[in-house]
Subunit: 283 residues, 2 copies
Amino acid sequence: MNVITSIKEMQQYSEKMRLSGHRIGVVPTMGYLHTGHLSLISLAKQNADIVITTVFVNPAQFSPEEDFEKYPRDVNRDVAMSESAGSDVVFTPSVNEMYNHNYLTYIHVENISSLLEGQFRQTHFRGVATVVAKLFNITKPHVAVFGQKDAQQAIVIKKIVKNLNYDIEIIVAPIVREANGLAMSSRNVYINNGEKDEVAVLYKSLKLAEGLVGEGENSVEVLRYKMKDLILSNPKFTLDYIAFSDESTLEDVETITDKPVLVSLAARFGKVRLIDNIIVSRI
Amino acid sequence: MNVITSIKEMQQYSEKMRLSGHRIGVVPTMGYLHTGHLSLISLAKQNADIVITTVFVNPAQFSPEEDFEKYPRDVNRDVAMSESAGSDVVFTPSVNEMYNHNYLTYIHVENISSLLEGQFRQTHFRGVATVVAKLFNITKPHVAVFGQKDAQQAIVIKKIVKNLNYDIEIIVAPIVREANGLAMSSRNVYINNGEKDEVAVLYKSLKLAEGLVGEGENSVEVLRYKMKDLILSNPKFTLDYIAFSDESTLEDVETITDKPVLVSLAARFGKVRLIDNIIVSRI
């Protein structure tokens, strides 16, 4: 496994690969890989000759009160796991390498960055947008794979690629879940095994909404009420939001029609913040 | 001459050229080319195999009260002139091709965008930064050439390239002037020939400062006073600013030392806004 920490070296590697006719896939991650990430790497490998997994805990997407310092890290484990899934290179730069002295440039996607997660994490998507643009310029991929778990992030990135004319194909891979339905997340290490069945109620609430839509319920008000009721029956939960949104503009939806609707939620289980989502529509 | 208007076609052309081992140079312009632009194209040709001249009057860098609508345009003339200077391709997309429906993504360079020109043109550098990033992603150059005439623009662009890790060499070409010293500018068409000697006083004021520094004057207060005095002796002028700034951070300088200082100014001659600059330092 080729582990690269220098931006210049990464660019030279990618340029060489492109010039020799190889198709490059990139999977940007914050490391502490889980089965969800491995599915992204496998998918990248199916769509490219060379897969670069980037492992970088990006300070620009954390706000001061968030868990940047304590975010779980284990690069050696990440290198081994990503290799097992088909990654050819791990690019893992230092914070200093990525944000050098007097760093001043940020990318902002208006409107969609300030909705949903953006209401609770003000500069989060500015940080995501900026680091993803940097990683694109550094790894020079033909294709990049992101997870549907971070649905809004995927929408923001697709918008950047379209608006800034990055000549890169974006693939969004389905959410990988544990047996009880809990969406895979590096932050799940904050939850002990005894609590995992409790937090699985988040997915159950999404499936509840899907089921009700299948039975003909099309009122977002009713659906949100029933999801809320289910989640908050456990007093350990507080809810940041349950949102029903247009799949590409993220505008609020009041009624379920035959257009796909993103149902997304963010909840706090004790101190742990969890997000999940599902796409629903009338058949 | 190859004239391309489609983003997709431009990307395919550049990708093909890169894969066949050609070095690509790009010269981004707003068209209505003059001798200054031609010097940029020649310089690009000296540093690349293929030169792409982009001709696009970028609405995002004009504020509503500025001259976007009446900005001079003549693409056929631009194609002929750029070819004469060594350009291989003119990329001239429509506004609609560049900023499609529901455009939301902007690049912002903090601090340096709000100084000097940024004080008078609030969203100007956001527009410049955004369109240049787009043009880089579309034309995929190895090297890009900009003019020192727009000194702050060149500084903003160098910052973007460094911060966002564009693998592109930036060359800043010296200002080309008319015989009387007036810096070449597409906006000079707004000035009639009888007035050209009057506006040449702007350059004279910069040369005055340079001369005084050569004689040992190092007080920015004194230098600014004498420049102001010279320019405002013609009542047709009003001054937006005369600034003495660190060449890379654009921070204000109070005393001339052996570090290069950017002396820049913006003035209005009647309704026409003109900028010019020079670099000075104690020898």
